[in-house]
């Protein structure tokens, strides 16, 4: 019924605030199929019933609590970050379908957590990792180091193969402004819509190291364009996370606030975008980091944990890895 009506009706049924279907009704009645039934007078209900299947294309499907729970149990797994403190704090690790933000002053361990979780997820066959690098922080040598630590019981040949496999499962993109980021995200969404891959070739973790370095140049003053770009990026990230069961991890830096206390950058509008916000701090000269929950969907804020970042001391030959 709706197929032949579609091209015309889509052009006419608008979201104008008049809202009544009679305007779309008059166009629908011009279609050949409905002219045969034109003898019957169209009441509002019948008209709306014809337009309704088209309207259902324009919004997401209706769900109920039971379906949401099933989706959460089957599709939304926890991806371990590799640091036990964080994993225990988050109840398993980074949750697929959620946008996790890590905030911390510089050199507090954010990039290390990103690299470690990328290596671990790629190693354990959870899926493909996409690393969007805005400040040249992606280091293949460090990934090789981590894989070396993980596969310490293997022989040389097996280690090589394992490293190759891990490296081929991590895709790194360098972007240096917000428009390039939006472009990358749109392309990713387009690609995911087309393909129906499953298993360990599907992307499951998207890391954006330092999304704040892309957004702070555009946010400034009272102009609304910067906030528009920030909110658009947030919506695309959450859409990717929800629809394709990806866990998104972004990092943010801190700026000075009132009274000299550091606060997370990106302002008030950003606060309502991530699902989970973690704050990392590291004492000078030690490699023990503190992580505390600033915001979580079901855990109390203020919970803290510690984890240790092992310094890079591993024997990886130069020139290997990508």
């Amino acid at each position: 019924m709706a197929e032949s009506n579609e091209p015309q009706a889509k052009a006419t049924a608008s979201v104008s605030s008049s809202g009544n279907p009679t305007s779309s009704l008059s166009r629908v009645s011009k279609c050949p199929e409905t002219l045969e039934e034109g003898k019957r007078s169209f009441s509002d209900d019948a008209g709306f019933a014809r337009v309704q299947p088209m309207i259902e294309d324009w919004h997401q499907p209706w769900l109920n609590g039971v379906e949401l729970l099933e989706d959460s149990n089957h599709n939304k797994h926890f991806l371990p970050t590799g640091y036990e403190g964080i994993d225990v704090l988050l109840g398993g690790g980074l949750c697929e379908g959620q946008l996790t933000e890590m905030v911390g002053p510089s050199s507090s361990g954010k990039t290390q957590v990103c690299l470690y979780s990328a290596a671990l997820v790629a190693d354990k066959h959870f899926g493909v990792v996409m690393f969007v690098d805005t400040c040249n922080s992606f280091s293949p040598k460090r990934i090789a180091c981590i894989v070396d630590q993980l596969s310490s019981s293997f022989s040389g040949e097996a280690k090589e193969r394992r490293l190759k496999r891990v490296m081929s499962n991590i895709f790194c993109h360098s972007v240096f402004d917000i428009f390039a980021l939006l472009d990358v995200l749109h392309q990713l969404e387009f690609k995911l819509k087309q393909q129906v891959k499953s298993g360990d070739t599907k992307i499951c973790l998207l890391i954006i190291d330092s999304i704040s370095s892309l957004l702070t140049p555009v946010l400034g003053g009272k102009g609304s364009e910067g906030r528009l770009l920030m909110v658009s990026a947030g919506i695309i990230l959450k859409k990717l996370a929800n629809e394709y069961n990806i866990s998104v991890l972004v990092t943010n830096h801190m700026v000075g606030g009132e009274g000299g206390i550091l606060k997370p950058a990106l302002g008030e509008s950003w606060k309502s975008i991530p699902h989970v916000r973690l704050q990392l701090t590291r004492d000078q000269g030690s490699n023990i980091c503190n992580v505390s929950i600033l915001k979580h969907t079901f855990m109390a804020t203020g919970r803290t944990a510690k984890f240790v970042i092992h310094s890079r001391s591993c024997s990886v030959q130069d020139g290997r890895g990508r």
Binding site: S16, N64, K271
Partner: protein, 321 residues
């Protein structure tokens, strides 16, 4: 048509009869922690606050209160047993949190009935058999309640409008399937698409018949759709709104305690209660008085059509440590 002029002079019912009819048809609801504000179906409540205040928590608690039945297998839950329609515009809803709150409420009700049961019997130990029987009932009740929670996610204003248009027929279908009607309409973060809508250029599309797409016209469309919905099916509308402009108070960025939320009511058009401030914990002492001097500098950014549609506005402020 009756030719009965006298019938026109004598009204349909007296004011007293009308008041009693309305109070039974549309009783007052008291939703904790807003239990001092009597709300009725047909009201539009806007819950505004900066980001780490408990806005979504209030929605979830109200939703759990609504989907729980009044009574189940002899145990009194005190809920409404009706459906909730949740529009997630922020896309931050977590079903695990909802199920956590629901399970907690169910457990509490079981525990309190268990306590009273054993008190009456005069024994002090809790037997295992009745509690395991209760755990088996749990799942059935839990799934029953979760089925009454209807949810949809929207990624932009057009999807939101389309969902509002389709909501009535969907809720009719669900009502026929489950036998209860929708009582709450919850919108998480009505201002979620503010920046995107503001950037819509009001350009005329092919002739003057169509209205331009702009922030004002989208807000008017939303208000109109909800009005139509309220006429066909009276529901209580609860909308959260994040305050995004504001110097804020110093308590904003500090950690918040889950139970310590300061709730001043700034404006309440249909309530006869004078507005004032109170703490949900009942600590109406030095904390509130020390904050008297601080002004809440949040600017209203929603268009005027939404602002005039709202009947109750609640402002939340997190008390820092």
């Amino acid at each position: 048509m009756e030719e009965n002029p006298r019938g026109w002079i004598h009204g349909d019912e007296t004011a007293k009869a009308m008041l009693s009819r309305i109070l039974t048809e549309r009783p007052f609801l008291f939703l904790p922690p807003l239990h001092r504000v009597p709300l009725r179906v047909g009201n539009v409540v806007e819950i505004a606050g900066p980001s780490p205040s408990a806005k979504s928590q209030i929605l979830l608690h109200a939703a759990v209160n609504c989907i729980l039945p009044e009574e189940w297998k002899g145990i009194r839950f005190g809920g409404l047993g009706r459906m909730v329609m949740y529009f997630d515009l922020d896309c931050r809803f977590d079903v695990l949190r909802l199920s956590q709150i629901l399970k907690h409420r169910i457990m509490e009700a079981y525990r309190s009935t268990n306590n009273t049961y054993w008190k009456e019997k005069g024994e002090h130990q809790k037997n295992d058999a009745p509690t395991t029987h209760m755990y088996l009932c749990d799942d059935e009740l839990f799934l029953d309640c979760m089925r009454r929670f209807l949810y949809i996610r929207c990624y932009n204003s057009f999807e939101f409008l389309a969902a509002l248009k389709a909501m009535h027929s969907h809720s009719q279908r669900e009502s026929e399937a489950l036998g209860v009607s929708v009582h709450f309409l919850m919108i998480d973060s009505i201002g979620a698409f503010y920046w995107m809508d503001r950037a819509c250029q009001p350009m005329p599309i092919g002739g003057s018949k169509r209205k331009n797409v702009s922030l004002q016209s989208l807000a008017e469309a939303v208000v109109q759709e909800i009005c139509k919905l309220l006429q066909m099916q009276p529901v209580l509308v609860l909308a959260t709104k994040a305050t995004i402009f504001g110097a804020g108070t110093s308590g904003n960025d500090a950690q918040r305690l889950a139970h310590d939320v300061n709730l001043p009511i700034l404006r309440s058009t249909s309530s006869t209660r004078a507005f004032g401030k109170w703490c949900s914990e009942g600590k109406m002492d030095s904390r509130t008085s020390s904050r008297e001097g601080e002004k809440l500098m949040y600017r209203e950014y929603m268009p005027s059509s939404w602002q005039s549609f709202v009947t109750h506005r609640v402002h939340l402020q997190a008390l820092g440590l």
